[in-house]
Subunit: 408 residues, 2 copies
């Protein structure tokens, strides 16, 4: 029987290793005489043959549980864009040689848009060259939730839970003082505002949540922003503002680019700074109110200790599904999720042609954004809410989460 | 029997409400006919008589459990410095009038250095004026861990656990890429580096932890910093740097002040920025390496979802202890903890004269800082380690932590 190769790519999420576990589980159960290899650092590792035999892991329930709870890709990642084979075929020839050498019949690639592009290109090459017996399957993951072809992306729910939890906690923090304070929170997402939208989930237990929410799907206006902030400050002593890192003005320029232009610090270094910092300075100068910028930065994408149980379970299942469609002989497909209903939450695991996802970006739809452009709608809440539900019983050791690390 | 009044003050912590719960538990059990009142917004609320009858809570086990898990002071806080009564006696006269009006025999104040100053002043006034039957007791809390008179401060362990967990998770995040990356993490603490030191606890399960740790107990040198960073980048692809917000150069100036001097952004606003941002720009300009600044900001002091169980339990017990020493008729004392041993961890709950803590700041001792000045010693690890141990079984609802909020 043929062997299976799995690799991870793109930015870290809290549950991308859950998908790896799902792949290992199903491969262990279904491959019979075939072996499971992992490649370190994505497609780059495949090309460099930095393989690891993963058979030893497939039956080690204890290690698999810790691996599933470990944030960020345990097999490493890469930022490697394959040229189309019509431009340069050499890399593809190398890949096929390596696949044949190791008797790889199934290649499963876990990643985001760029990784699905890789899956699409390799599977198309294999199809057009009539190469038999190599099935290439993609599995979605991204905190950005911007992949087409799946209801949502594994990794999004956990990042959203981190964000909603952090907003709920910051709201408690702001509530202790009577002095007006404003906190501008910058959230990841350069082209889609899904994560920023999730800040609204801090309202689920009766909290106020963010007073203003700015997604990158809407053009940002400094004047309108200041007017809205001033109004909010009058209404409430503690105002939380959620802003996508990707918000742009009417000229299509990122906020942080605009304000950093020509500015240098006292040492003469270019003053690179996030949007939250820039907007905090703007509010401070114009209102005199106490302002704090907060950038959730890396923390939101690797906060595995507060992963969503539903997200983790689904991440494992899309991994399971990837193996079963590979073994069915399909190729150029992406394991995906189709929502049947939000309340009660119901979902089927399926697959779609990977072209649907490769290089596309799913934006937050208009119906999820309030008319004022500075909040989300109930429809958005209903979509996001089920994805953060449930907690993972994280295994701690010495007071910190226990992580799985491959020996390399 | 006399009534008991409790209030909270200073900056938020994840477990200051645990102490409130401890006070309510013991008051409920020991006060008999006396009532328990809370004052909103610390001593300011006492002076304004914004009281709430808390008797209803004392027996509500369910609400007490949620209250104990809710970060930041549920009764609110204040930044109010009482003038010494020798300068102005009026506020003290008002306080005594209010205490008498509500038949308050016990006043318990939960807070940091400034709050202990308040406890010291009021108790001294009462003693020197020979006012009978009013016992004033302080209970320590601060994430900064800078109070004298107690082995450590309730609130520190949970913030340290948040920091150590975040460092462990960011280390996983950095490990996925092969490109050299540097992350400069700014941690709270303007005058003491206890929290920054706790980043080293990310090493407890075999992790590398921060490559460099800069506490505000040591003078910061830009040149030395750059040399050390350059060396670390050569050794490793992912370098985490922990830095106290309070680090100062040899002229006693904060890093963030120095670089922000005379600098403005493109809008002409003063460019206020944190140390992590400044140092990230410095590293980027000098090494060309990818750098990210991360500021743990509010998140580290209100991250109740990852509170330390030991910290929460101790917070409750210092609250219990405060009530029992108040009922013994003591005044001008602070409930405190005395460590018997670190391994196995053993502790006694006791009390000390509040003068020991009021207006003092406990720095990280020399023996806890490495000779190189950019790391901590094993002695520091042994001191901190027990404080982050154990996890709280946090109650979630709708995917986010369930918080207790007083109706006001």
């Amino acid at each position: 029987m043929k062997n299976l190769l799995v690799a991870q790519s793109g930015g870290p999420t809290s549950v991308i290793n859950g998908t790896l576990v799902g792949v290992l589980q199903s491969a262990g159960a279904m491959l019979k005489s075939g072996k499971v290899f992992g490649a370190f650092n994505g497609i780059q590792g495949v090309l460099e043959e930095t393989f690891i035999d993963l058979d030893y892991l497939s039956k080690d329930i204890d290690s698999l549980e810790i691996l599933a709870q470990t944030p960020a890709a345990a097999l490493g990642s890469c930022r490697y864009k394959l040229e189309d084979y019509k431009v340069d075929e050499t890399k593809y020839e190398t890949l096929i040689k390596i696949f044949n050498k190791h008797n790889i019949g199934y290649f499963i690639y876990i990643g985001g848009n760029d990784s699905m592009d890789t899956v699409e290109k390799i599977s198309r090459y294999i199809r057009e060259k009539n190469i038999a017996d190599i099935s290439v399957i993609g599995v979605p993951k991204t905190i950005d939730n911007d992949l087409e072809g799946t209801d949502h992306c594994p990794g999004y729910g956990s990042a959203a839970k981190y964000i909603a939890t952090s907003f709920a906690e910051m709201e408690r923090d702001l509530a202790v003082y009577k002095t007006p304070t404003c906190v501008v929170v910058e959230i990841m997402g350069r082209n889609a505002g899904w994560l920023t939208a999730s800040s609204a989930l801090a309202r689920l237990n009766g909290g106020k949540g963010p007073g203003l929410i700015y997604l990158c799907e809407r053009t940002f206006s400094f004047d309108k922003f200041l007017t809205s902030v001033e109004k909010k400050i009058k209404e409430d002593t503690g105002v939380l503002i959620a802003i996508s890192e990707g918000v742009k003005d009417s000229n299509g320029k990122y906020i942080c680019e605009i304000a950093s232009e020509k500015s240098t610090d006292a040492f003469g270094h270019k003053f690179i700074s996030g949007s939250s910092q820039i907007l905090a300075n703007l509010i401070r100068d114009n209102t005199g109110v106490k302002v704090r910028p907060v950038e959730l930065s890396l923390l939101q994408r690797c906060g595995g200790h507060v992963a969503s149980r539903r997200d983790l379970e689904e991440s494992i299942k899309v991994g399971n599904k990837a193996v079963s469609i590979a073994l069915e002989g399909k190729s150029g497909e992406m394991s995906s999720m189709k929502r049947i209903s939000s309340d009660p939450y119901d979902l089927v695991f399926t697959s779609v042609p990977v072209e649907m996802s490769a290089n596309h970006e799913k934006k937050v739809p208009d119906s999820y954004i309030s008319e004022s452009g500075d909040d989300v709608t109930l429809e958005a809440i209903n979509y996001m809410k089920p994805l953060i539900e449930g907690e993972v019983n994280i295994r701690y050791r010495n007071g910190i989460p226990n992580h799985f690390i491959f020996n390399r």
